[in-house]
């Protein structure tokens, strides 16, 4: 079965990142249509489409947009979240590098809808190529009159500024992102107030993910009903799934929401490499609870995964084969969150540090049986108690791994060493 490409239609075409290529394939035709529709009708259309945020939480985009007080005396900002740093997630980078105008068109329509005249695109510092491409795309867009003053003669003005981050996963969290643009450490803010009321420089602000905004021109051009007919009733549209890890064909696959994880792994990913079997799957980026091989028939949508105690997140699917030590997987993830915690909340700062330390002890054969329940307990303490969801993002995968693969932890402790006995994790043959 081919993919259902809407956003990815032109990603393989040479020069797809240029404005000529974009306009030649029907780009920037949603914008004049949107300018004729008017802001409220756009918001209504996005609501009807059922579009849910692609940045991780799946919040309905049209509803988020309607939270902004459109006649605010202060400026209103849109921030496009291009910080993509979630382990296993690499979908936004392709949009940025291969079809940036699609995203820019979504930004202009979004800004018009929420009455914003300034948009920041926050791109992570580790995407220098993406930044170069976006800089050029923004310039081209100004030159053609899709950005700047009196866009397409509508009287609507918009400036887009590219802001380059400097290495911090936490800046993808929307309030940390705002702090970072303000020139401060990326330390999330307590909510309320929410950014829609008090956001960037104290002004009303909407933060949306790259893929979310890129869906918008398609909804305007082809209609909310068309979009809503794809996927399942509450999980509409296509989703760009990322497949990585122990898989034969890693890569990006655009398919309707609700496709089964099995189909994704076996039909599109062509199964597990080196003749191995699936042991575990991280279905929605590193922060999602892992699933076991028995859970592989689950539909890949927001609600089904939430019901299974995990999440769709960014739909970055990391597949783990049966030659992999799960203690090592948990340790690898805990290291990430320990490294990336901003340090404001004790439960997160100490919790991530402690989890990594305990997991390392067990992996190195110095664990004790009572550590296992203490690990579960520590994860429980970290959930729902902090300023942002990073602590949960560490606790969820670790807790699920300890609970679902408890026997591996016990074996490490009984043997006094890792039963897999590999010096280095994973497989690399290193040949071309």
């Amino acid at each position: 079965m081919p993919e259902m490409r809407i956003i990815r239609t032109y990603v393989d075409k040479p020069n797809s990142e240029s404005i000529e290529s974009y306009t030649a394939s029907g780009g920037y035709t949603a914008l004049p249509r949107a300018l004729k529709m008017g802001p409220l009708e756009i918001i209504d259309e996005v609501k009807k489409s059922g579009l849910r945020g692609r940045g991780g939480a799946g919040f309905p985009t049209g509803i988020k947009w309607s939270f902004v007080q459109r006649d605010s005396k202060q400026p209103i900002y849109l921030c496009c979240n291009a910080d993509e740093s979630e382990p296993g997630s690499f979908k936004d980078r392709e949009i940025i590098e291969r079809d940036p105008h699609q995203m820019l068109e979504g930004i202009v329509i979004g800004c018009y809808a929420i009455n914003s005249h300034k948009c920041y695109i926050y791109i992570r510092g580790e995407m220098p190529k993406g930044a170069r491409i976006l800089e050029r795309a923004i310039r081209e867009s100004y030159e053609k009159g899709f950005l700047g003053k009196n866009i397409l003669g509508s009287g609507f003005n918009l400036d887009v500024v590219l802001f380059v981050g400097a290495g911090a996963y936490i800046c993808g969290e929307e309030t940390a992102l705002l702090e970072s643009i303000e020139g401060k450490n990326g330390e999330p803010r307590p909510r309320p107030p929410f950014p829609a009321q008090v956001g960037l420089f104290g002004c009303p602000t909407i933060v949306n993910n790259v893929e979310t905004l890129t869906c918008v021109p398609h909804i305007i051009n082809r209609g909310a009903e068309w979009f809503a007919s794809i996927g399942t009733p509450k999980n509409t549209g296509t989703k760009i799934y990322g497949l990585s890890g122990s898989i034969n064909k890693p890569g990006l696959y655009e398919l309707p929401l609700g496709i089964s994880l099995r189909e994704l792994i076996y039909e599109y990913g062509e199964g597990i490499r080196n003749g191995k079997e699936v042991k575990a799957i991280s279905p929605g980026g590193g922060s999602a609870a892992v699933l076991t091989a028995e859970e592989i028939n689950i539909p890949m949508d927001f609600d089904s995964l939430a019901r299974a105690g995990s999440m769709l997140g960014t739909a970055g699917v990391t597949v783990i084969d049966d030659a992999t030590c799960m203690v090592r997987v948990a340790q690898n993830l805990a290291h990430f969150y320990r490294d990336e915690s901003c340090g404001q909340c004790v439960q997160c700062r100490e919790g991530t540090w402690w989890l990594e330390k305990m997991l390392t002890r067990i992996e190195e054969g110095m664990g004790r049986m009572e550590y296992i329940d203490t690990l579960i307990d520590a994860c429980f303490q970290m959930k729902g108690t902090t300023i942002c969801a990073l602590a949960d993002g560490c606790a969820m995968p670790v807790e699920s791994i300890v609970k679902k693969f408890r026997h591996e932890f016990e074996e490490h402790i009984k043997l006094g060493k890792c039963p897999f006995g590999n010096k280095y994790m994973g497989i690399w043959d290193g040949s071309d």
Binding site: V164, S244, P250, G426
Partner: protein, 157 residues
């Protein structure tokens, strides 16, 4: 060492486009690091003076973000991804290979000052793992040959 005229010009441009002086800080630090390769103390003091913000705030931000270097680094910086998808496809093997080849551990710089090897977290290249960012270029699907050729090139430069 006062900043060059070009750098001053660049910073003035950043300030003129920023909502607040503080919000000019991160783009300014990028511009300064591009010129010096890292952020020496004197540079940070000068940034504080130009932006008219507390020096402590400049230090604080420079140390929070991993891509700002408050200690000298090599002429080239290798950021090798260590996160899960890369680890499953051999990032630890790659680290060992690189480390042997360069004669340094992760976190160190070669004695000739050419190359610093650092650990990165997920670089959004999980589908083409193992991956690393070298200065401004991403290297994906790493093999021994790709690494050998790259190191050769960096050493000559």
């Amino acid at each position: 060492m006062p900043f060059s005229v070009e750098l001053r010009e660049k910073i003035n441009q950043i300030i003129s486009k920023s909502e607040t002086r503080q919000s000019a800080l991160i783009p300014t630090l990028h511009a300064v690091q591009r010129e010096y390769g890292w952020l020496p103390n004197e540079c940070m003091s000068e940034v504080a003076e130009i932006l008219d913000i507390p020096p402590a705030s400049v230090q604080n931000v420079a140390t929070f973000y991993t891509m700002f270097f408050t200690k000298p680094v090599g002429k080239h910086v290798i950021w090798l991804c260590r996160t899960l998808s890369c680890a499953l496809r051999g990032a630890e093997h790659v680290e060992h290979y690189l480390s042997e080849k360069l004669g340094i551990h992760t976190g160190e710089t070669t004695t000739d000052g050419k190359i610093t090897l650092l650990e990165a977290e997920c670089l959004a290249s999980c589908g083409t793992a193992p991956a690393m960012l070298v200065d401004d270029e991403l290297y994906e699907n790493l093999t021994r040959k790709k690494i050998d050729e790259l190191i050769e090139k960096l050493k000559k430069d």
